[in-house]
């Protein structure tokens, strides 16, 4: 019984230690390295580590050296079993600006119970959308559940019985 108790305490301390001692900034740099292989670079950012996550302030996303989007904040919370990422006030830049859309918030949730699935919630000038990224089948699917002004992005959308949706493979 004592052994079980001590083992439980050890595992709990290990879990807390993994979250608390996580080198969040260095893991972010690693993510940047991986993104760079796809031609994406996050620049102009200021990193703020917290106990359970990392805040990236005023990031600008560059694709192939050209600025394509800016956000006010990226807030990542890593709890291992459940992980969350939220991006606020996304403004498209450069050529992407011609899409004429604003994204107020983008939230991505990941759970260890479904490791190859990322749930998405998006709120923008086009309305409210929910969707997912399926890492297994490499599919991004987004349903516009409360459409507002979808005209600027209509050409990228498909229509189903439930309404407009976007789907692409990567």
């Amino acid at each position: 019984m004592r052994l079980v108790r001590n083992l439980s305490i050890f595992l709990l301390a290990l879990y807390l230690g993994i979250i608390l001692f996580m080198p969040k900034s260095n893991l972010y740099y690693k993510a940047e390295e991986l993104l760079k292989k796809q031609g994406i670079v996050i620049g102009n950012e200021e990193l703020k580590s917290s106990l359970v996550g990392l805040k990236v302030m005023h990031p600008v996303a560059y694709y192939q050296g050209l600025d394509v989007a800016r956000a006010s904040i990226i807030d990542a919370k890593v709890l291992l079993f459940v992980n969350m990422l939220s991006v606020e006030d996304i403004e498209l830049l450069g050529v992407a600006k011609n899409l004429n859309i604003d994204i107020k918030s983008l939230k991505a949730n990941h759970s260890i119970l479904n490791p190859f699935y990322i749930k998405l919630n998006i709120n923008g000038s086009f309305g409210v959308a929910t969707g997912y990224v399926d890492l297994n089948s490499k599919v991004v699917h987004i349903d516009i559940i409360e459409p507002k002004d979808i005209n600027p992005i209509k050409r990228y959308l498909k229509k189903a019985q439930k309404g407009w949706y976007y789907e692409s493979k990567f």
Binding site: R2, R5, N6, L7, I9, F10, L11, L12, A13, L14, Y15, L16, G17, I18, L20, F21, M22, P23, N26, L27, Y28, Y29, K30, E32, E33, L35, K36, G39, V41, I42, G43, N44, E45, V60, Y62, Y63, Q64, G65, L66, G94, V95, N98, R155
Partner: protein
């Protein structure tokens, strides 16, 4: 009783410290072996290369004459002047440290050549401020730019570029607000250009291009639609054409078209290399 509780407290503390230590050791090891210590820096695009009547005047300033006087006060012999190639016409050049590109007219067709490329056996080996040097069979040849720069320079997006004009100002034949052919070049009236340059919806209503993949790699953009009778149909583009390069820059990545559209405000001229069937064509445009 108190001994038992002391033992229990020590066991709990040991388990906690051990757990935390293992976690710390894990991250220290991973950090040391695998994680980078600094972020990725942004390498901003330098803007698409501008060609055609554009060249770098930075190197056109007359260099100070340095007389090479030897002991006998005899000037050094002049180097042999390369022969001129009469069948080529140098129409434009881009001269920078990173890239040297020229536009050559041969047999009524224009070709964009980068340093090291060949045309009719002539290898483009050197670019000067107003001329290009070729090599064939160990002998040097040259072609010169026919136009002269003006003193007043027109500022473009990159400080390297100046817009020279011909010695006699050309008469602009553009009467209507539509593209007009002038020799090998299609002249786009400024008003027409301004009408479309920021309006992607209007562009897409008239013309559309989709990425063209070859062997799983991007090798250009295929024109999937051109509206008949539209301004875009007068640009010489046809459905099925594959745009393979802009100003000599191969469209094997999205950077080139993105830069092109990002810097479109300062565009005064461009050369599109297109593949139409088995034929390679150069479409030249000038905004006036």
């Amino acid at each position: 009783m108190s001994q038992n509780s002391n033992k229990s407290a020590i066991a709990i503390a040991t388990a906690t410290v051990l757990g935390l230590l293992v976690a710390k050791a894990f991250w220290v090891g991973l950090d040391y072996l695998y994680l980078p210590k600094s972020g990725v820096e942004v390498e901003k695009g330098s803007g698409i290369k501008k060609l055609y009547y554009h060249y770098n005047l930075a190197s056109t300033k007359p260099k100070p004459v340095v007389k090479n006087i030897n002991k006998n006060n005899k000037p050094a012999p002049k180097p042999k002047e390369p022969e001129k190639i009469t069948k080529f016409v140098l129409k434009g050049l881009y001269n920078s440290k990173a890239k040297k590109v020229i536009i050559v007219i041969y047999n009524g067709k224009s070709y964009a050549l980068s340093l090291g490329e060949e045309l009719e056996g002539y290898k483009f080996i050197k670019l000067k401020s107003r001329s290009a040097i070729f090599e064939k069979d160990g002998k040097d040849y040259k072609i010169e730019l026919k136009i002269k720069p003006i003193a007043r320079t027109q500022k473009s997006s990159s400080s390297n570029y100046r817009a020279p004009v011909t010695t006699k100002p050309q008469k602009v034949k553009v009467v209507k607000n539509e593209p007009v052919r002038e020799g090998d070049t299609t002249v786009i009236p400024k008003t027409l250009f301004n009408k479309y340059k920021g309006d992607f919806r209007a562009i897409r209503r008239n013309v559309n291009a989709v990425p063209y993949m070859s062997n799983g790699k991007l090798s250009g953009f295929k024109i999937s639609f051109v509206r008949r009778g539209s301004d875009f149909s007068k640009l010489g583009l046809k459905r099925g054409d594959i745009i393979t390069a802009i100003n000599g820059e191969p469209l094997d990545n999205f950077k080139v078209p993105l830069e092109f559209f990002n810097n479109i405000d300062s565009l005064t001229a461009a050369t599109f290399t297109i593949k139409r069937g088995n034929e390679i064509k150069e479409l030249e445009y000038e905004v006036r």
